[in-house]
Amino acid sequence: MIKGGIKVLNPYMPYPVRIDEIITETEDRNLKTFKFVFLNPGDEEKFSYRAGQFAELSVTGKGEIPIGIASSPTEKGFVKFTVNKVGLVSSYLHSMKVGDIMGIRGPLGNSYPWDTLEGKNVVIIGGGFAFTTLRSSIIFMLDPANRKKFKNINVIYGARSPGMLLYRDELAAWEKRDDINMHITVDAVNDPDWKYNVGFVPAITEKKAPSADADTYAIICGPPIMIKFTQPVLDKLGYGHDQIIMSLENRMKCGIGMCGRCNIGKEFVCKDGPVFTLAQLNATPREY
């Protein structure tokens, strides 16, 4: 009941959703993918997103966490998020069951720069559990309606071990396609039947990534250590800092550039990001 005043849409109000499916992704059981369906008709249309955006998952009674959207805008009827178990909210979420009611608020942030990427070669470089919005991007680009909009697609994706790779069935399916070049790698492996790469992401990038030209863009998403050692490799391959695209994470609350904590310089990671080019990041304090 609101007395007086003007009518304003409330950007803090999440859409109510039901957990439709929970998939344990990794052998350490710390990563689960949650598939949500919207409770109210029409909310799915309102939650219209682009690959690279995120949302606040609202666990009623615990709080909210900002999580990249793992499903692709081309997948209809649900939204998917892969969540690492770290803090209060994510740990509780991991204990929730199919059928439980919660909320999602978004979509938030910018996205990967799809207008710029159209007509270009795209190199996707991911590490560990930071592959979620990259999955969204790959599914989006491979959609029959979209594939022709992009030139070569290369994907370098690494994890500690085969059991720590996300979306393993999909990775295998992409391996078989000829319209995407997959370079899956693990840090180390005991399995004699492992048929993909062994080695850290920066080393595989050096070997497998196409050398730079004006039409080639790299999207990097991964742990800080991977980014730290991959960036010099891309420099060596000749990638300009406008052609290196990164997605950042910071502690967030509002997700709409108001609560003040996620800034790097004058930019808010939640609203002006989370996607920045390296050239943009070079001009701002590295507080992430």
Binding site: P11, P16, K253, M258, G260
Partner: protein
């Protein structure tokens, strides 16, 4: 501009009349300090003050505010679904707000009222408020409003400006919102023709009493990364104890936290003021903290107010010169000094301009 004359003997009666259509807030003295509080029926604002200890931002933006309510009881039909909390956005008025504090709302508005998103709580509360200012005839020694985009008689952000002229207040009518309030109080007598001159004289005298200043003209031209890496931050931040005093007392600090608080099978999602001085403000779930040190947090506060804000909005600094952070800092960190250091910083000139 229209000026109304309010005889001080008509003051209490007028306020009583306004109270039937407005919720009133004003400075109230408790112990040695004044603070803005909701005025009880018949209670008058105590205008015998220089400024309040805590800023009046809480009139629009309370330190703790419930946003949503919810039930966790699965027997309830709509359990785990957030519901808007009951809110009262009926008209309210803040009486006796100083011009610097009133100006601060315009700065804060840039954060809460953006082209992309509107913060409904702040905006509705702000729009419900009529700001009745009280010109500063006697500014404090720590006031530097005149170089921080405001001034002791500044009208920006106000609906009415009261000027104390001995036996009466002159009320400058700035907006129609202000006019409505004056009408509601029954204060309608136009001031004598000499009023504008008297006000101008008082304003001039007040301005001349402001002895303190900041220099801000070159902040915009500085390179963010160079200011960020300036060597003076170690010296500036050394004394800081990382309490939230400066940010909580500041009229222009707006940062907040969102928390769910449960009680049995129900709960509320609320927001509380937060502070960039606290390590918790930025810590990641993994334990990594991009602003994990005191130096980083102190630098964030000053860079936000004096550089990031300046660059983002091209509308001056995020400070109105009220001087509260200077007066109340337990360890005497002085924004005027830091602002001047930033404004005059030349990375090429000297290895350590800190002293």
């Amino acid at each position: 501009m229209k000026v109304i004359k309010i005889d001080k003997k008509d003051w209490a009666g007028g306020i009583e009349k306004i109270q039937s259509s407005y919720r009133l807030y004003g400075p109230v003295k408790s112990d040695a300090f004044h603070d803005f509080k909701a005025l009880e029926k018949g209670e008058l604002p105590d205008l015998n003050f220089s400024n309040t200890r805590v800023s009046p931002k809480s009139v629009v933006y309370p330190q703790s505010e419930v946003m949503f309510e919810y039930s966790l009881d699965e027997k309830d039909a709509e359990h785990h679904i957030l519901k808007d909390a009951a809110k009262d956005y009926s008209p309210k008025a803040v009486l006796g707000i100083r011009p610097c504090d009133a100006a601060s709302f315009l700065l804060v508005k840039r954060n809460f009222d953006t082209p992309e998103y509107k913060d409904p709580y702040w905006i509705k509360s702000y729009e419900a408020t009529t700001f009745v200012g009280y010109a500063c005839n006697n500014p404090c020694a720590t006031c530097f409003c005149t170089t921080a985009g405001s001034g002791p008689f500044n009208e920006e952000g106000l609906d009415v400006l009261l000027v104390d002229e001995g036996d009466c207040y002159y009320a400058k009518v700035i907006t129609s919102k202000g006019e409505s309030l004056l009408n509601a109080a029954g204060w309608k007598t136009g001031a004598d023709g000499g009023a504008p001159d008297k006000i101008a004289a008082l304003e001039k005298e007040a301005g001349s009493r402001i002895a303190s200043s900041v220099t801000t003209g070159r902040l915009k031209d500085k390179k963010t990364t160079e200011l960020y890496e300036a060597p003076f931050w170690e010296d500036v931040s050394f004394a800081c104890i990382n309490c939230g005093t400066c940010t909580y007392l500041c009229p222009t600090c707006w940062c907040f936290d969102i928390q769910d608080e449960n009680s049995g099978c129900s709960g509320v999602r609320m927001r509380n003021w937060d502070s960039c001085m606290f390590p918790l403000f930025t810590i990641h779930g993994t334990g990594h903290n991009p602003r994990g040190t005191k130096l980083q947090r102190v630098r964030q506060r000053f860079m936000h107010k004096l550089k990031y804000y300046v660059d983002k909005y091209d509308n001056g600094i995020q400070c109105v010169g009220c001087g509260r952070c200077i007066r109340s800092c337990p360890v005497n960190i002085d924004i005027r000094k830091v602002c001047d250091m930033m404004n005059s910083y030349d990375p090429k000139a000297c290895a350590c301009p800190a002293k």
